[in-house]
């Protein structure tokens, strides 16, 4: 009955500048209340929903001012400055402080755009805000009817698919800005790492961007005089003129110098031919991955992806595989990034799919193959009985397999971690496989360090 009304409301809220999250919460609130009361009541309530009391403020509440919109470009202006400052910090013996902020704006059809926002945080000693010693959390205060224990509203655990990533009002014009941002993120990350174990394989293809060098020669005029070549030319000319009768006693003062003899060097576009690479992104999208873990895995893959975009000028080919108990390949990063499905976990299914693809398309011969896998470490195949053999097959052709495990809580190691350690693969082939484990509360710097670990 109120389904249609709710849709209109959320549309209206979106127009008012609420985030999808807030809308979700408001809608939940309405749904809870609308059992008895008509819809329109809570809608007039501005202000943050279900937030700290300190999030309320007069400008928002009384003057219904929205938070000022920050255009990303105003930040990007300073990015070089900031990076220089950050480098200086390192020289002065303090850890770096600039982080790469939230960042993807995927477009359909393989056109993935990344937005980079330099962020930082001022560390202080504070209580851990996410700490809770009770099993059931408190959601704050409440107001209205209802017996103790009565459920007054529901909210889906997984936010709906729409909304995420696709910001409001993203139009064609925005693309430029986004492109430059992706470039910026890539540039920041490029400072930090490069692909390991690249080998010459198959057809050559340029993996680096063009570099300009002073290698082309030009006679008569140019940028830098090539003295050796010029002298050679002068000697040549003078020999043919008969100006050099005695080679054992050369009098250079008698040389005639034609303007045409001057050899200069000029800029040339150089292209380094290198091997080509194929990157597989593999992500666990099972039910246990809900929330922070998925966010972290995806954020890390975004970083790897945008770094590749920059460093290898999009010439690295990428493939995307998602898995729960079964694996499937998806066509683009957008889908890879956004898809959420609940289910069990069977890591081997994904490994098998990657192996099948490589075999079927005979990729191993022509490509350097890299596989990045993100998971929370849960696997129903607890001993890796199926995953390990697949992994071994993979190691036969892969240049590097990087597995990121995002643990739910510190302490106990996860199944995937356990069976990988037990298999001894990490020791047998340290050049080929890396595994990195961290908790689900880490920051971006840790993600970047993680990438470094995976590809160093």
């Amino acid at each position: 009955m109120y389904g249609k009304g709710l849709f209109a409301i959320s549309k209206r809220l979106a127009k008012l500048g609420f985030t999808p999250e807030q809308i979700q919460k408001i809608v939940t609130g309405i749904r809870a209340e609308s059992e008895e009361i008509p819809l329109h009541v809570p809608l007039e309530t501005p202000g943050p929903v279900n937030e700290s009391i300190y999030a309320f403020n007069d400008l928002l509440m009384l003057q219904s001012a929205s938070k000022p919109n920050v255009s990303q470009s105003s930040h990007v202006r300073t990015i070089d400055e900031l990076l220089a400052k950050d480098k200086q910090r390192e020289k002065d013996g303090f850890p770096r402080k600039i982080r790469v902020g939230r960042m993807i704006k995927p477009g359909r059809g393989g056109k993935n755009k990344v937005v980079v926002i330099p962020t930082t945080v001022e560390e202080k000693l504070i209580h851990d805000p996410s700490f809770s010693d009770t099993d059931e959390e408190e959601a704050g205060g409440g107001h209205g009817d209802g017996q103790e224990g009565e459920v007054i509203g529901e909210q889906p655990v997984r936010p709906s698919q729409q909304g995420r990533g696709a910001g409001p009002g993203q139009g064609e014009d925005e693309q430029h800005e986004l492109e430059s941002s992706a470039y910026d993120l890539g540039r920041i990350l490029t400072e930090q790492f490069e692909l390991p174990n690249l080998k010459d394989k198959g057809k050559k293809r340029s993996l680096t961007r063009y570099t300009f060098d002073m290698t082309d020669k030009h006679r008569g005029f140019g940028q830098v005089l090539d003295k050796k070549a010029t002298l050679r030319k002068i000697v040549e000319t003078n020999i043919s003129l008969g100006n050099l009768p005695d080679t054992s006693n050369i009098d250079t003062t008698r040389f005639l110098v034609s303007p045409h003899d001057m050899v200069y060097r000029i800029l040339s576009r150089e292209k380094d031919f290198e091997s080509q690479a194929m990157i597989f992104f593999v992500r666990d999208y099972s039910g246990s991955m809900a929330g922070k873990t998925t966010e972290l895995v995806v954020a890390q893959h975004v970083m790897i992806y945008s770094w590749l975009l920059y460093q290898y000028a999009n010439q690295v080919e990428t493939r995307f595989v998602l898995h729960d108990t079964t694996a499937k390949e998806v066509p683009d990063f957008y889908t890879y990034y956004n898809l959420k499905v609940a289910g069990g976990t069977q890591v081997s299914s994904a490994y098998k799919l990657v192996n099948d693809i490589v075999e079927k398309e005979n990729l191993a011969q022509d490509y350097n193959i890299y596989i990045f896998h993100g998971t929370d470490g849960d696997d129903w195949d607890t001993d890796g009985r199926e995953a390990i053999p697949q992994l071994k097959i993979m190691l036969r052709y892969a240049n590097r397999v990087g597995i990121t495990i995002v643990q739910h809580a510190s302490g106990s190691s996860t199944e995937v971690e356990k069976y990988i350690k037990k298999s001894g693969l990490l020791e047998q082939a340290p050049e080929l496989i890396r595994c990195d484990t961290f908790n689900d509360d880490v920051d971006e710097q840790r993600l970047i360090d993680g990438i470094r670990k995976l590809i160093s």
Partner: protein, 545 residues
């Protein structure tokens, strides 16, 4: 940023007249500015103080979401700031009637700033002006010292939540010292009352004996009185010494301690850093009362804008508009806490309570619920009482004292809980408790509360180490931030820094996470003592028993 036009200013002056007439007290002059989105962008990182010093972090996006208000307690979008004269900010397209409402709200804030005793230390100067001169000092230092100024700002800001706000405040309220010495006070006020539990008659007898001694022996009277006591209670002397020791320990201000005791900072070439630190410290102290009176401040302002607006004859015809906006501001959300709504309801409730004489001993002793409900002494002193509250309370005392069961019942408040329904894969919100005690606890837990960190003098005496002890209050510190904070402290202190705290050893798996079938369910939480030490910019962590 420009001043509001003359027409709007005239409205403001009218509002002031009416507010004064109702008993609000604030200084004559105020400044009102119209701000644009662009201005807000620049002002918000500076917490709306236009003259605050420049700092590169202000140009960046900073942390959003949870934990933000622990780090940046001061509200970035406040409409009015506590300066002399008070400055407030407005949209340029507010209709007149809305401005009337906002003006009243703002004036009540100004009244609160200028009368609440928690703001006492901000009364004697104009922060805006001082910030300007500080800004110039920092700019000058930056020209001389370059990036090192920013490092010092950064490290100082890293500990600016550990300033001794209450000791600062304490200095403004000196308790008149009595003629009696501490020993007499201790004996009569604590020893025989709390330790020996004397009856009233015995107490009076002791006083008589004391007076007798005074008249008999004049100056030696006191000594002779106590010689008898020490004979009777041999433990008295030791207990008194202990009490004296405890009394002499002042609340700890980490920032101040470092500025006064760091050898590094007090070297001639580093003394400029002290200036920078003092600026950061002063700024932090300035904002402390605001964060500790959020609910009261907004409640007080909402109470007054409602009262004054309805009485204002200039806004006839806009009652409905007002009602809509006001309801938005002051309605209680179904789930969540709105400080405007909560604070305002509390002020109304207190006023009514006192008007009926319920804030009295007689009423407290009543057990008959019918009589309690009908109780009405018609004292009419409710208004005066809420003025007293606005002068003497902070959020903590306000909530602690006045959120009672009657208030909860009347306003249908409850503590909401959230739990996972695994079969439906939804979060369920439910009514967790309607008990006043739980509600109070929930609100108080959400109040700003920086960790309480003190100095361990004994352990600090070794090798110029700054040994800090975190008084554990059931919540661990945020681990990610420890390293850089200690790094900054080490820099300022010029020697190793250690921090003792408690951490979770094993965390039970949270119930809100789906887990694979057949796995063991959460275990008990176990705590352990850890010491973080920062030495030569390297952090290490050790577990102690």
């Amino acid at each position: 940023m420009e001043l509001i036009d003359q027409h709007t200013k005239a409205i403001m002056e009218g509002c002031k007249e009416r507010a004064w007439a109702q008993g609000l007290r604030f200084e004559n002059e105020t400044l009102e500015y119209v701000v644009t989105n662009r201005d807000l962008l620049e002002l918000s990182p500076k917490i709306m103080i236009p003259t605050l010093y420049n700092y590169w972090v202000h140009d960046l996006e900073v942390l959003k979401g949870k934990g933000r208000y622990e780090l940046y307690p001061s509200n970035p979008y406040e409409t009015v700031i506590n300066t002399r004269p008070a400055i407030s900010f407005y949209n340029d397209n507010n209709p007149d009637w809305l401005n009337v409402m906002i003006f009243y709200h703002v004036l009540a804030h100004v009244d609160f700033f200028q009368n609440n005793l928690f703001f006492r230390h901000t009364w004697n100067y104009d922060f805006n002006g001082e910030a300007l001169s500080d800004k110039r000092v920092i700019a000058k230092l930056r020209a001389e010292r370059g990036r090192w100024v920013d490092y010092v700002i950064e490290f100082s800001r890293g500990i600016d939540n550990l300033v001794g706000y209450y000791c600062e405040l304490d200095q403004n309220f000196t308790i008149p010292t009595t003629q009696h010495n501490l020993r007499v006070d201790y004996y009569f006020d604590i020893f025989i009352q709390n330790i020996k539990h004397f009856k009233t008659s015995e107490y009076i007898k002791e006083i008589e004996r004391f007076n007798q001694c005074r008249t008999d022996y004049a100056e030696l009277g006191e000594d002779s009185f106590f010689s008898e006591i020490e004979r009777r209670y041999p433990e008295f002397r030791a207990l008194f010494e202990k009490y004296k020791e405890r009394k002499s320990v002042k609340a700890f201000d980490l920032m101040q301690y470092i500025t006064q005791n760091s050898e590094f900072l007090n070297k001639e070439e580093n003394r400029w850093m002290l200036t920078v630190m003092e600026i950061v410290r002063k700024t932090s102290l300035f904002f402390q009362p605001q964060i500790r009176t959020k609910i009261m401040n907004e409640g007080w302002s909402s109470y007054w804008h409602e009262n004054l607006f309805m009485k204002d004859d200039r806004i006839n015809g806009h009652e409905v508009d007002f009602a809509r906006v006001n309801a938005g501001v002051t309605s209680m959300p179904r789930v969540g806490l709105n400080p405007y709504a909560l604070g305002m309801r509390l002020f109304y409730a207190i006023e009514e309570l006192v008007n009926k004489g319920k804030q009295s001993w007689d009423f407290q002793r009543l057990n008959d619920s019918y009589k309690r409900e009908k109780y009405d002494n018609k004292t009419g002193s409710g208004r005066d009482y809420i003025f007293f509250i606005r002068e003497n309370y902070s959020d903590f005392t306000f909530i602690n004292e006045f959120v009672g069961q009657d208030f909860i019942n009347e306003n249908k408040l409850f503590v909401a809980g959230r739990r996972l329904n695994e079969s439906k894969m939804v979060w369920e919100y439910y009514v967790k408790s309607r008990k006043a005690r739980d509600y109070r606890k929930m609100v108080m837990d959400s109040l700003y509360h920086p960790p309480y960190i003190v100095l361990d003098h004994e352990k600090s005496s070794k090798n110029n180490t700054l040994y800090l002890f975190h008084q554990f209050e059931g919540k661990p510190l945020l681990k990610e931030y420890i390293s850089n904070t200690l790094l900054g402290m080490e820099f300022l202190w010029g020697g190793p820094v250690e921090l003792e705290t408690k951490e979770v050893k094993t965390l039970p798996l949270r119930g809100d996470r789906p887990h694979a079938p057949g796995k063991p369910r959460p275990k008990e939480m176990i705590w352990q003592h850890v010491v973080y030490s920062m030495k030569n910019r390297k952090l290490s962590r050790r577990i102690i028993a």
